[in-house]
């Protein structure tokens, strides 16, 4: 023994209960059946040559003499009652005792076996109950887990919507930057024209003053270069009017995108919407991209104009960004069987099947962070579906991408 220090299990578990006795006090009838006893009496009577009885210790009459104790372990369980000589009777009890001894071996083994089986069974049952408990615990846990996963998913969806909103804002900001540039251009030359115009008017006023002081017309016209001034003033005015028309057109196009705020349906002319989109995309186009517009006559469509503008703008931007150097974009719009079909096809880099399979996944992008159009095809599809329409994208690497949108005309 290495160390007698020990820790008893009872310290932890508390004292258990005693188990059943494995060595109960056996009586004669516990060890031998009545039939066995009768048979033994018969044989003993024959051997001893006189009538011999085996009497249970409990049933022995006190007045019975000539009786010899038959012990099991150390106590008598029976008495041999016989008239045989004591030596013979003693031999007979010895035989009986060894019969009882042998019988008890089986009985003891059976009792012990039973006690042990019961104990093992109890232990198994206890284990089984613990297993059931732990199973129930884990089932609860699984249910809780489901709830927690659901909560997490809700959280994630909330965040996604927030990111949608942010992305949408970023798309509008991109649009705004382009528009600002587009408006600044005409504003720049309008201002410059006006300044020039103002000096021309000063020149004209100075010329008039000279005339009034008696200078000759020919001299005045020549010294103030009035022919050029008036001619150029005319040109400046025409250019300025052009610029103002351009600005007002941009504002008109832009109204399509922002008039919304509310998402009420209004009748829109799809061709006009597509024109606006082309116009507003203008600052993003480089010179080597050819845009072909192929618009048929289409019916007015009841639609959420701002949303639809945003969706089509996003798709159009995708087309522009797909073209690295030079290429072409076809925008087609036509109506067939009460349905407006829009096709936006680019000659850009295209997508492989793996990319194509993911285009509707929220926030899936092949573009560097911050340069995406923001809305993404997920939102485009949502918007088209909100108009009972469908969107289909086909593409293969190097072959460009074709986006087909169909929108039913409802009255």
């Amino acid at each position: 023994m290495t160390d007698p220090d020990y820790k008893t299990a009872s310290d932890k578990e508390g004292l258990g209960e005693p188990l059943p006795d494995i060595d109960p006090e056996f009586s004669l009838s516990d060890l031998l059946s009545t039939k066995d006893v009768e048979r033994l009496e018969d044989r003993m009577s024959i051997l001893l040559g006189t009538n011999t009885e085996i009497v249970d210790a409990e049933a022995l009459q006190s007045d019975q003499d000539r009786s010899y104790p038959v012990r099991y372990q150390i106590c008598p369980v029976a008495y041999l009652v016989t008239e045989a000589p004591p030596a013979s009777a003693k031999a007979a009890t010895d035989i009986l005792e060894s019969v009882l001894y042998q019988a008890s071996r089986y009985r003891l083994a059976a009792v012990a076996h039973h006690a042990i089986v019961l104990q093992d069974f109890d232990e198994l049952q206890t284990k089984h109950e613990r297993l059931l408990e732990s199973e129930a615990k884990y089932r609860d846990l699984a249910i809780q887990l489901e709830q927690r996963v659901k909560d997490q998913v809700d959280q994630i969806e909330l965040r996604q919507r927030q990111v949608y909103e942010a992305e949408k804002l970023s798309a509008l900001a991109q649009l705004g930057a382009g528009v600002a540039h587009e408006i600044n251009n005409p504003l720049g030359f309008i201002q410059s024209n006006m300044n020039t115009g103002k000096t021309y008017i000063q020149d004209i006023m100075d010329a008039l003053a000279s005339l009034r002081q008696g200078e000759t017309m020919a001299k005045v016209v020549e010294s103030f270069d009035l022919d050029f001034v008036l001619d150029d003033l005319q040109t400046l005015m025409t250019e300025t009017i052009d610029g103002v028309v351009r600005v007002s057109r941009i504002v008109k196009d832009l109204k399509g995108f922002v008039s919304a705020g509310t998402s009420t349906r209004q009748p829109i002319m799809m061709n006009e919407v597509l024109d606006s989109i082309c116009n507003l995309s203008h600052p993003l186009l480089h010179e080597d991209i050819r845009i072909t517009r192929d618009f048929g006559k289409v019916s007015p469509l009841m639609a959420d104009k701002a949303a639809l503008c945003q969706a089509l703008y996003a798709i159009f931007l995708n087309a522009i960004q797909a073209i690295e150097k030079e290429g072409s974009i076809l925008i087609k719009c036509y109506e067939d069987s009460q349905t407006i079909f829009i096709r936006i096809e680019d000659s850009g880099s295209g997508m492989d099947n793996a990319t194509l399979a993911k285009i509707y996944e929220p926030f899936y992008t092949t573009k560097p962070v911050g340069t995406g159009t923001g809305l993404g095809l997920t939102v485009c599809r949502d918007i088209v579906r909100a108009h009972q329409g469908e969107i289909r994208v086909t593409s293969s690497p190097g072959e460009g991408t074709q986006v087909r949108i169909s929108l039913p005309v409802t009255n």
Binding site: T2, P4, L19, R105, L108
Partner: protein, 216 residues
Amino acid sequence: MAELDERTGRLTLKLVYYGPAMSGKTTNLGALHELVAPELKGDMMVLETRNDRTLFFDLFPLGFATPSGLLIQLKLYTVPGQVEHDSTRKAVLSRADGVAFIADSQSNQSYTNLESFENLAANAGRVGLDFDKLPLVVQFNKRDLSNILSEEEVRERWHHTPWWPVIFASALQNEGVLETLELLLRRVYPILNNEFSLANTHQLDLESFVSGLLGR
């Protein structure tokens, strides 16, 4: 947990020989069967497997009658030492009045001794015996072998425990066997006397209790 049967006038005690497999528990019982000579001495009951390993338990019943007519019945049991018979060990240990722990002196058996002793402590608790109050004697058996812990080593490890002194024995040579039982009886007696008032009611003092059972 001795039982007094008023009807038959019997007080039955139960002592259990515990210890690792092959430490000599059955040999102890066999030697006792030869050595003791009480008034009443039953046969050794051996419930063994074919290869002499104890299957359920061994049982040696003995006893004597006090002057007052009370029959003191002592039943000595062994448990099966093999680890897999733990349920049997618990069944046998249940209701014991005292335990003789038979340790194997061979130095390579230190760990199995410890395991078995811890098993005894744990099982005692499981069957409702307060191990700290259970009368216990430790016997270091097989002193006749050569590769054994020295008495000094054993002393070093045990003298500070409640079970010191331990008994050194060689059960095959009948040595130390009687001493073990005697020491155990001396440790059991105070508890029995306390519960059944042996000295006062039955004029059975410690010495007559011991000598009555050992037959001296």
